[in-house]
Amino acid sequence: MTLQLYSRAADVLAESITADVEQCEQRLRYAMVDCVWQLIPFAEDYVELISSVLTSFRQTDNAYLSAKEVFQRYLVSQFYDRLILAVEPSAAVRLSRPLIDIAELERLPKSGAIVASLHQSRYLLFGSRFFVERPEFYKMAARPTSIDHAGFEGRVAKRTLHASDRSTPVKAVRALSAGATILMMIDHVHSHAEKYKLRFLGAEMEVNLGAAWLALKAGVPIFPIALFQDGPIYRLRVLPAVYPTADLGATMQNICLQLEQAVALDPLSWNRWGAVFGDQRKGRIQQELRAIKQTIWQEIIRAYRRREGAR
């Protein structure tokens, strides 16, 4: 039953690719309602997990985390992410422009900066904008990310710094000194750089020290960012700058203090709940989420290809 609903929503979505954006969103939301109701028991489980962590850490009023509302938001954003994977880049940018607000990027200095982000599920939506519109934007990644698979390879390949290359920090310092902005997701570690354990949302989280080291060597500030949903718009907020010191661990901790706000603004958008607060139950929830995302993706691609084939 649920799969049929996905399929129906995917048909609507694929059909909407060339339609007016507002109309597309409206139709998508209608198509999603049934899916959301089907998945409410699952959503409540996931929301309970996130609420309990946030509440115990900062005594947050979790009334806003209505299961239905949160999961509806989550599914809509997942659909947009998959949509961007399914269409060619210029269509994705056209579609996402009225939905994505990246105006705060104007606050970044032109003389080089590091942008520190968490793994948030809105990355593809935002990435489709700033990697196309901001030629000074680089990203550092341990492996190809979703944006590399979304038809943007030509635009981002030359501006990708590979964390698995041991000499990448030297190249990154040079790029920063030449005025580049480097996007780094700091809540995931790779093996080639020194690791450090810090506190995040009351738990222990392991990070690499690369962002702090690069900023110190290149003499640039680090700007943590939050990606969040604000009504029908997805917004990027640039949080207060962190200036690096020789104490790299303390610098990373200061970045993470800011990034806690990113999670508080849009808890479901953070992909690392299971990894940081991992236990069996949470791991199972993550697995189920992955399965749902995979199903959505397959259905949208199938619907899109069916539509293309019918042309």
Binding site: A163, S164, D165, R166, S167, T168, P169, V170, K171, V173, H192, A193, E194, L209, G210, W213, K217
Partner: protein
């Protein structure tokens, strides 16, 4: 190897062991990089410092080739060859 070449190699070796925080006796040149503590930040620290000391800039190809090095000795040879 010329005297100048050997001197440069000595500087590279000294710099690498400084950033690792060890010495040739504890970590012979044949030590695998993975086991030496020479992570990407320490290696980059050494490269930037050497460029500053020796007044040179390594090109991207030479930098990328460092990733293929297996041992500390390999890194020293590669850097020396690109001075």
């Amino acid at each position: 190897m010329s005297v100048a070449g050997q001197a440069a190699k000595d500087i590279i070796q000294r710099e690498l062991y400084r950033v690792i925080g060890s010495d040739l006796e504890s970590l012979p040149l044949s030590t695998e990089i993975e086991e030496s503590g020479l992570d990407s930040l320490k290696l980059s620290e050494a490269v930037l410092s050497l460029e500053h000391q020796l007044g040179i800039v390594l090109d991207d190809d030479a930098l990328t080739a460092i990733s293929d090095c297996g041992t500390i000795g390999d890194v020293i040879d590669l850097l020396a060859a690109n001075l």
